[in-house]
Symmetry: C2
Subunit: 148 residues, 2 copies
């Protein structure tokens, strides 16, 4: 299997696979023409990578999982190094969530205070809220649920 086919089957692009290779994450054999050649196993590795990326894992963080799979384990998270990544990710998420909640509360307070003082006389105006709902792009840091 060559790069185009693997990319299509994995739902990604040749460019991404080449990038992974430069990072040492997904090395490829070469055929007589110098073209990259992959096996079925590589498809599993790619699926692992994408599953973790969808959760906001960085490429480096997927490495233990990928190597774990390549070592022959049934799943990528069978190895201790992968569990460590899980744990540090959990801690990171907890810290992030706590911080965002704190910010959220502060912003909410400010909004209430400001909208109160901005309307000197609370006229109970019930303006129909929003006619159109814009898709506001959410959290991008661990950025899960990327388009495509």
């Amino acid at each position: 299997m060559r790069i185009g086919e693997l990319a299509a089957r994995a739902g990604t692009t040749p460019r991404a696979l080449r990038y992974y290779e430069t990072r040492g994450l997904l090395p490829a054999r070469r055929d007589a023409q110098g073209h990259r050649t992959y096996g079925e196993d590589d498809l599993r590795l790619l699926r692992q990578i994408h599953a973790l990326q969808a959760f906001g894992f960085g490429l480096e963080e997927t490495r233990p999982f990928v190597e774990c799979l390549r070592a022959g384990h049934p799943t990528g998270d069978t190895c201790p190094a992968s569990l460590d990544v899980y744990r540090s990710k959990l801690a990171e998420l907890d810290a992030c969530i706590a911080e965002l909640n704190a910010v959220r509360e502060t912003v909410r307070e400010r909004l209430l205070l400001a909208s109160a003082s901005a309307a000197p006389e609370p006229r109970c105006e019930l303006v129909p809220p929003q006619t159109d709902r814009e898709e506001t792009e959410p959290c991008s840091t661990p950025r899960p649920m990327s388009p495509r």
Copy 2:
């Protein structure tokens, strides 16, 4: 007041102020030597900018607040445009927090499942947890609480 002094008083750098100017966020007058000149008002604008940045607001999002202040209002969030930013930020935060919570739960489940199957015999090993606490850098997207 020139750029170095204002930067020092605002706790930022000349580079940042020049950048703001290129963005049209903080225009400056010039003296005979071509040096940027600022007034006391600009210090207030800068404080507003930094306060919002500490909450994870992007520079563009601070613009309504800054213009509100320049329009002579007592606070930056007196104007409707600023309130809109507050509201959209709240929505963004809510979406982000919800997403992160979902990811957190999934990761936690995975960790439990994997650590359970990784230890075929739950040997109740009570290894002393962590000897050193590494400062894991938290959420960077709305990235509040930046260093300095």
